[in-house]
């Protein structure tokens, strides 16, 4: 084994290091010089430092990307990981842009610092092939998110959301760790390729199956799939809106990316089969049940919601179901590049529209004092631009062409149809998914009807976003529209990176 090179490690982890330095800087800048300043000024300083750190990371990722592997897979960087990381940093910057009016807290420095630390966790999460690093990165992602969910100390709902998120999250982490410990026992190593080789040797025994179920449960929680979804609606509703946007976007992209990596590279040989008329042991049947339940419950429960944040939470559960369908397509090795590209395209465009939608919720919430759907009545008359953006986001989430959400769904469904080497084994799930997408249109349109058709309730104060909120909402709307019309702008780099990463 080569001696561990710290310089090499620093070179590969330079973007993460830039964000870590920014996280410490923002903490001390807020603590040191800004004690007497107004919240607004402190937030601008915090977001500014966050932006500088993010820009450094992005520049590094874009112009001096270091590719390599240290310590046999503890940290792996390839064009693919760098691309996903760039997406994660961008999402964090967008969320930071929504956080310039932090009336939910007096601890501005800590807020931005946690945001950055969570991002570092996500970045490490997608660029490792070692279970130890994976677990650490997952916790580095989760712990800041728990705290961010409970950041509004004056609001009881926020504390409650954080506590529920924390309890579900740590039980899931315990399951994941238990599963990892069994995988380590099976393979004698924590590296994913070694584990893949070990599980390929023999048909799955009890130990491997318990490990598999534990791992699927752990990740199922992270992506908020039924039946591990219970935290999501409460966390989304109770958490401060920018924090909810962060939980719903960046964490989703990173979780799906790492779930895919673990399933494809670590547990690929024990996929099993999820054919309509006969399940065979492996992770495919598990995912099939979870995906089906997520799509059904997510879409049906969303119809009954009065709070827009809860509606977005249930829609997130439904989208997790669609994305799990994409993950199932990873089981067929020949299908992997296309499926991975579809998943990442879907996850990134979904995250963009979610950040935008949460941005609009934040603006409306500030004007009306709650996130109830009633507050959206007559939004088109109060603020036409905001209503237009809302329409773009919701229709993209529903999967209407020419928006990015439609193409994401299309590519994922195509990949799932092609899975199983032309046997159409997952086609039954694709049919269910398409049918439920139509159902989802109903509740998105119901919200749009409030915005465009219904008159405003009495005297609602003017609904005006501040400058940065407007920039963020506008940019995400433009991106969702643009990526829908020119999908190649994202798909081609993705395909190239996946090819270079050796999938």
């Amino acid at each position: 084994m080569n001696p561990f090179s710290y310089l090499e490690a620093l070179r590969l982890a330079a973007p993460e290091t830039a964000l870590a330095v920014a996280a410490l800087a923002v903490l001390f800048a807020d603590l040191g010089g800004m004690r007497g300043e107004s919240l607004r000024h402190r937030a601008i300083l915090g977001a500014g430092i966050t932006a500088v750190g993010g820009a450094m990371a992005l520049l590094w990722l874009g112009f001096a990307p270091g590719y390599g592997t240290i310590a046999e897979g503890v940290l792996v960087t390839s064009p693919l990981t760098q691309l996903v990381k760039a997406g994660l940093v961008l999402l964090t910057l967008l969320v930071a842009g929504l956080s310039l009016d932090p009336r939910f807290t007096g601890h501005v420095g800590e807020y931005f610092s946690l945001l950055l630390l969570g991002t570092i966790g996500m970045m490490v999460l997608v660029s490792t092939q070692d279970l130890l690093m994976l677990f650490l990165a997952l916790e580095l992602t989760s712990l800041p998110l728990y705290v961010l969910a409970g950041f509004n100390k004056r609001d009881r709902a926020s504390a409650e959301a954080a506590l529920k998120y924390f309890f579900f999250g740590s039980v899931a982490a315990a399951f994941l760790l238990f599963g990892f410990s069994l995988l380590y026992g099976v393979a004698g190593s924590t590296r994913l390729p070694v584990i893949a080789a070990a599980v390929a040797l023999k048909p799955p025994d009890a130990l491997t199956l318990v490990a598999l179920v534990c791992v699927v449960m752990g990740f199922g929680f992270k992506v908020a799939a039924v039946p591990f979804h219970l935290w999501a609606p409460d966390a989304y509703e109770g958490a401060p809106t920018p924090a909810a946007a962060f939980i719903a976007s960046g964490s989703k992209v990173a979780s799906f990316a790492v779930f895919g990596i673990v399933l494809a590279q670590g547990l690929g040989p024990m996929a099993g089969g999820a054919d309509w008329h006969g399940f065979t042991t492996g992770w495919l049947p598990l995912l099939a049940v979870v995906a089906l339940a997520s799509m059904l419950l997510g879409n049906l429960a969303a119809i009954a919601q009065r709070s827009v944040k809860r509606l977005l939470a249930y829609s997130a559960i439904a989208h997790a179901g669609y994305l799990l369908l994409g993950l199932m397509a990873l089981a067929t090795p020949a299908n992997r590049p296309a499926a991975l590209a579809a998943i990442l395209y879907y996850a990134i465009t979904y995250a963009l529209s979610t950040v935008g939608a949460f941005g609009i919720v934040a603006v409306v919430e500030r004007a009306t004092g709650s996130d109830a759907a009633d507050g959206f009545n007559g939004l088109a008359r109060r603020s036409p631009a905001l209503a237009l953006c809302l329409m773009i986001f919701l229709l993209s989430l529903a999967g209407i062409p020419p928006l990015a959400g439609f193409l994401g769904k299309f590519y994922v469904f195509v990949a799932a149809t092609r899975a199983g080497d032309g046997s159409l084994s997952l086609f039954w799930l694709v049919l269910v998914a398409i049918a439920l997408s139509v159902v989802s249109l109903y509740y998105y349109l119901k919200l749009l009807k409030r915005a465009y058709v219904l008159p405003p309730d009495g005297a609602v104060p003017a609904t005006r976003p501040d400058v940065m909120e407007f920039v963020v909402i506008g940019m995400t709307a433009a991106a969702v529209l643009g990526l829908g019309v020119f999908p190649r702008a994202l798909l081609e780099p993705l395909a190239l990176a996946i090819q270079q990463a050796g999938f």
């Binding site: 561990f4 090179s5 710290y6 310089l7 903490l27 603590l31």
Partner: protein, 125 residues
């Protein structure tokens, strides 16, 4: 009997004595109590303190939340020391990079302490 099992035998004997000794003492005390001082409970005897001031209030007092903040800060610093032990054991055979890495780790801990200090977590008033 090999030397190794003999050294374990010593431990077993020690364990036996260590268990037996307090048992004998407790038994004797019990015997003494039943013969010379049978239990006669009364309100004065059942009081937490038989002399001194009357006790007031509940034992389940509410602790200030600052107390818990102390505890949490202590918990973190206590457990992070975990990484220092392997470092200290392997210190002489480590390259310079490892030394710098552990210094960065310690700096982060110090930064955490400074932050807690500045935030007033450590003030007890």
């Amino acid at each position: 009997m090999t030397e190794q099992t003999q050294s374990y035998l010593f431990l077993a004997v020690l364990l036996g004595v260590a268990v037996a000794f307090p048992l004998v003492m407790l038994g004797l005390a019990r015997l003494w109590a039943t013969v010379y001082s049978p239990a006669k409970p009364g309100p004065a005897k059942a009081a937490p303190y038989e002399c001194g001031l009357e006790s007031t209030g509940d034992a389940w007092v509410q602790l200030r939340s600052g107390y818990y903040l102390y505890a949490i800060v202590f918990l973190i610093f206590d457990v992070e020391a975990l990484f220092l032990l392997p470092f200290a054991v392997a210190f002489t055979s480590l390259p310079v990079g490892a030394f710098v890495a552990i210094l960065v780790f310690l700096l982060l801990l110090v930064e955490g302490l400074v932050w807690a200090w500045q935030k007033g977590v450590l003030e007890w008033n």
